[in-house]
């Protein structure tokens, strides 16, 4: 699978860079991560328990950081073995740019899974990855954002969360998402208000996509806008890293 995407993190670039290189933060943010040690400035050893569809396994492996160019970019390479569950390997180029007090993370990733993971889980990887990505960036933004950006700004996770739910679940969930967005809007400054508007718009758009998906009896339908794709893809990256680490 080939993926690329962007994500906005409410913290200055240095903060994000530090966090991306901080085993403790990564361990706390990667879902199912049991241990993660820096064995050298560019190498991490980790154990992660992951479940994709029917396949649940503890993955052990190494992650190596290459082409380090702090605080702007690096390439992250890894391979993990889950015993009979199969293997996962991949690499991702990660790039950070500062925009105001936010940091924009862009990446392109390649990943390959094998064994039971591929035989039983291949069709579920996208959705599982999306879920894990939300979990990861939910807590990552929290941790990194806490020290950096102010609390009263709208967590961009809400907007994307709303999109995700609307595009993935049935209307009532989307309605809840709508409420979340609205709740967020109440505390929002004007600039944030626009974001929420987008969110509402995307929720509607999400409705149609969801309906289409129900109508079209056609395997995997396309999900929401590029932002959502970014999330999906980044999610996939994260799970692959999780599997690898």
């Amino acid at each position: 699978m080939d993926m690329e995407g962007t994500y906005r993190i409410p913290a200055p670039r240095e903060e994000v860079w530090k966090a991306l290189n901080d085993p403790d933060i990564l361990r706390e943010c990667i879902p199912g991560c049991e241990s993660l040690e820096m064995t050298s400035p560019t190498e991490m050893q980790a154990a992660v328990t992951s479940k994709i569809g029917p396949v649940k396994a503890k993955f052990k492996g190494t992650v190596t950081l290459q082409d380090l160019n702090p605080p702007e970019s690096y390439t992250i390479v890894g391979e993990g073995k889950g015993g009979v569950a199969g293997f996962a390997k991949g690499s991702a180029g990660v790039h950070l740019t500062q925009e105001g007090d936010e940091t924009v993370l862009t990446y392109t990733a390649k990943a390959q899974v094998g064994g039971k993971l591929a035989q039983l889980g291949s069709r579920l990887i996208d959705s599982t990855a999306r879920k894990m990505a939300d979990e990861f960036f939910g807590s990552f933004s929290e941790k990194v954002g806490a020290s950096g950006a102010q609390q009263d700004t709208l967590d961009p996770g809400v907007a994307s969360e709303a999109k995700r739910i609307a595009t993935e679940h049935l209307p009532e969930d989307a309605v809840n998402a709508l409420h979340d967005a609205e709740a967020a809007v109440e505390h929002a400054v004007e600039e944030v208000y626009h974001k929420a508007e987008d969110a509402l718009h995307d929720v509607e758009e999400g409705y149609h996509k969801a309906e289409e998906k129900l109508e079209v009896a056609a395997g995997k339908g396309a999900y929401g806008g590029p932002m959502v794709w970014g999330l999906v893809a980044l999610g996939a990256l994260i799970i692959v890293l999780a599997l690898m680490s």
Binding site: G53, G83, V84, G86, F87, Q112, V113, G114, G115, K116, A118, Q119, L120, S122, R123, E215, V216, A217, A218, G219
Partner: protein, 787 residues
């Protein structure tokens, strides 16, 4: 005709035990001290084995042993073989790579076994198998058969440069080219035949027992042909000499071809049972079945058909690339050659045909015969060509076929086969009447008013069954003869046991074969039992596949019955002091014609065994055996018509009506024949609409469970199939039978796809016709219409 004789819709004798859950399958067999095997399988499509570390596994509870390919090869166990030699057009023999039951060096497909664990329980064996650490060094894999032939593609076997197994041809190239040079119209198509996983309800299983005192092996296994299994295991794999190996195939839950072959696992269980010193059982799980059962089909073809100005077919040219997977399975080489290209003439008079077939290695599980074996590929190609050509020349597809039908028999095709008998107009007429072809335009218009696209598609199939004349297939490279044997034992009380080399794994032999005896001697079916599937009971046999059990297996029984009847008549004549020629057998009695003198069959049987008063010099007993070797293939044929409705909004195809008009020659039990056709049609519809065994680019099988591999279900089928049969007797065998086991799966896919492409007016459709594919084509069609 006896009440339960030929033509009677007799209830299946075997169903009592099956529908009450009393069937006895391999996994139902248990022996004291039995251990369980679990296999360690490759997660990679192509990789060097660097090391295998079994230490952790060996320390786990209940584990007896972990055996690897090194030990297997060390014990002199032979490589798996392909039993049909094909020569390339340059005369060179096919290039066969080595296939070991446990691979010690290089794995070539995901799921290939590299080690086996034997433990006290199945769970312990599986846990320990997960603890066997295998280090691999990955190699590039190639999945697409066309890409496998290209320069620089990853190479699977040193024996097969460029992954080419053979480059074979049939027919006359010059004659075919000439036909195209003078053609008024040429139809050209690229046609793929999708890859299928066989999915019998019962997965493969084996129980191997080694008797140290007798140095004798017994193998219970899911086989369609236990004698062939014993022959191959003995003669080629050196597991044990034939007289020290008993193979039993008890109740078997479906085969569809996939249980013809001798696979690594069954062989490893036999070997391990001696090496570990305890009986070893293995039962395949469903994902293992997807990964290791021989797949079917997987052809890529380019076909051209030449027509003259009067719409007569003058020539056919076909180039096919057949994917045989990572190794050559037992009959794999014959499927895309003599079981495929020899049927390319179909029901039509085609003066010139040339076919070229390249068989190719790829990093996928081996491909071999699957219900129809080559004939579905030929029929799908030819019948899509026929429909397409008819559309291109603006002729009714039925009339175009009728115009080119063969009508005089015997008919020698340009591709070896000589059709002995047939009546293709009658089955075409019957099918068109049944589906009300004349009324289709009205039905199409009515559907359109509901926003639905209605289409109709034809398929006039022919197949070659009654496999096969031994000398003929021998001359074509077969490693075995394809005759059948039978023994008829009349017991002193007049009951009868028929021992047959055919094997029933769903076909209902215990019923149809008994009906034959009932017909001959007027005995109750319950007085007859059919014995099969045990090499210690049945002297020899070639098994059941290629719709051969009726045409070949029952012919052998008929020959044995002739001998029994002759001897019984001699005895009766002697006892009743009448001329042998005056003895008639009727309703279970032997009568002297024109008198009231008679003896019951039982009395004659008893006399044969008491032997107190037999004709001078006659041996006691009433038991006869026979071998039957067919003189020709049989040629079942017929017309299938499918009518569909496509919803352009969803791409979903609904089969509204399906008509099958078949000519199977003599039919013994119409109910069982209908069951065979229903099953065949369902499998064919599954291939056309749903099934597709899919590997990703790295060689991972991503359809390895029912989450991703879609089998046909009741709601994918029409409310009922409209079946009819027409009987032109096969002159080649005593009963005039042709065979009915595969026809449904052979004839139905092109009918379905022709109907869908007719409905959506777009011919660029490959199987399976999933809603997504059909929806995309509908969209494309609307765009074109809009512009």
């Amino acid at each position: 005709m006896g009440v339960e004789g030929i033509g009677a819709r007799a209830r299946r004798k075997e169903d009592k035990r099956f529908i009450t859950g009393k069937g006895k399958y391999t996994d139902d067999m248990t022996v004291p001290g039995m251990g369980y095997a679990a296999f360690v399988r490759s997660p990679h499509a192509h990789a060097k084995i660097v090391s295998i570390d079994a230490s952790a596994a060996l320390d786990m509870p209940g584990v007896d042993a972990v055996l690897t390919g090194e030990q297997l090869v060390g014990d002199g166990i032979g490589n798996l073989i392909c039993g049909w030699m094909i020569h390339s057009k340059d005369g060179s023999p096919m290039n066969m790579g080595a296939w070991r039951a446990l691979e010690p060096e290089i794995v070539r497909h995901v799921g290939q076994a590299v080690a086996v664990v034997v433990a006290d329980t199945a769970a312990q064996a599986k846990d320990a198998a997960e603890a066997v650490m295998v280090e691999y060094e990955e190699l590039d894999a190639v999945i697409d058969p066309v890409a496998a032939l290209e320069e620089g593609a990853p190479q699977l076997h040193p024996e097969a440069p460029n992954n080419l197994i053979y480059d074979w041809e049939i027919g006359h190239e010059a004659a075919a080219n000439a036909a195209f040079d003078s053609a008024a119209h040429v139809t050209t198509m690229e046609i793929h035949n999708n890859r299928l996983a066989p999915n019998p309800m019962e997965p493969r299983a084996a129980l191997a027992v080694y008797d140290t005192a007798e140095e004798h092996y017994t193998l219970y296994t899911t086989s369609q042909n236990p004698h062939v299994a014993r022959l191959v295991l003995s003669a080629f794999y050196n597991v044990a000499p034939e007289h020290k190996l008993r193979v039993i195939a008890p109740d078997v839950g479906g085969g569809f071809g996939s249980k013809i072959y001798i696979y690594p696992e069954e062989m490893v269980c036999l070997w391990a049972s001696k090496r570990v010193g305890r009986p070893v059982k293995w039962v395949c799980d469903r994902t293992e079945a997807f990964l290791t059962d021989a797949h079917g089909r997987d052809h890529r073809s380019v076909a051209e058909m030449a027509l003259d100005a009067d719409h007569n077919i003058t020539g056919l040219r076909v180039k096919t690339v057949a994917n045989l997977g990572a190794y050559m399975s037992l009959f794999s080489s014959s499927v895309p050659t003599y079981l495929y290209a020899t049927l390319l003439s179909g029901q039509y008079n085609i003066p010139a045909i040339h076919a070229n077939v390249k068989a190719v290695y790829t990093n996928t599980v081996p491909v071999d015969a699957y219900r129809g074996a080559g004939r579905p590929e030929a029929t799908y190609l030819l019948e899509r060509m026929m429909e397409t050509a008819a559309r291109e020349i603006g002729m009714d597809p039925a009339e175009f076929r009728r115009k080119n039908f063969i009508r005089s028999f015997p008919h020698q095709t340009p591709v070896i086969m000589c059709y002995d008998a047939g009546d293709y107009d009658t089955t075409l007429d019957a099918a068109m009447k049944a589906i009300d072809y004349a009324g289709f335009p009205a039905r199409k218009a009515e559907a359109a008013s509901r926003g639905k696209l209605r289409g109709i598609g034809f398929s006039c199939y022919i197949e070659a069954c009654g496999i096969a004349p031994s000398a003929a297939v021998g001359s074509l490279g077969a490693g075995v003869g394809l005759w059948e044997s039978a023994e008829v034992r009349v017991n002193p009380v007049g009951t009868i046991e028929v021992l047959t080399g055919s094997h029933s794994h769903g076909q209902g032999h215990e019923t149809t074969f008994a009906q034959l005896i009932s017909e001959r001697f007027g005995l109750d079916m319950d007085a007859v039992s059919i014995v099969h599937g045990d090499t210690d009971k049945v002297q020899f046999g070639m098994g059941t596949y290629g719709s051969r059990s009726g045409a070949v297996g029952m012919s052998a029984i008929v020959k044995a019955l002739d001998k029994v009847e002759a001897k019984a008549k001699k005895i009766a004549a002697h006892l009743m002091e009448a001329a042998e020629g005056d003895i008639q057998i009727e309703g279970g009695e032997l009568k002297v014609a024109g008198t009231d003198k008679k003896l019951s069959f039982t009395e004659v049987a008893l006399a044969a065994y008491t032997a107190h008063n037999l004709p001078e010099g006659m041996e006691p007993g009433l038991k006869e055996g026979a071998f039957y070797d067919p003189t020709n293939f049989t040629f079942p044929a017929g017309t299938y018509i499918c009518e569909v409705e496509v919803d352009p909004e969803t791409g979903k195809t609904e089969i509204i009506d399906f008509v099958a008009a078949d000519d199977f020659g003599k039919i013994i039990n119409p109910m069982i024949v209908e069951g065979q056709v229903h099953g065949g049609l369902t499998q064919g519809i599954g291939q056309a609409l749903l099934e597709n065994a899919t590997y990703d680019d790295s060689g991972q099988l991503i359809t390895a469970s029912y989450m991703d591999y879609c089998m046909p279900r009741a709601d994918d089928l029409p409310a009922q199939f409209q079946l009819s049969t027409h009987e032109t007797l096969c002159p080649g065998n005593p009963l005039g039978m042709k065979g009915c086991g595969e026809a449904g799966a052979i004839g139905s896919p092109p009918a379905v796809i022709n109907a869908i492409t007719d409905a959506i007016e777009n011919n660029a459709l490959d199987m399976p016709a999933t809603p997504e594919k059909v929806w995309q084509l509908c969209r494309a069609q609307m765009k074109m219409a809009a512009e």
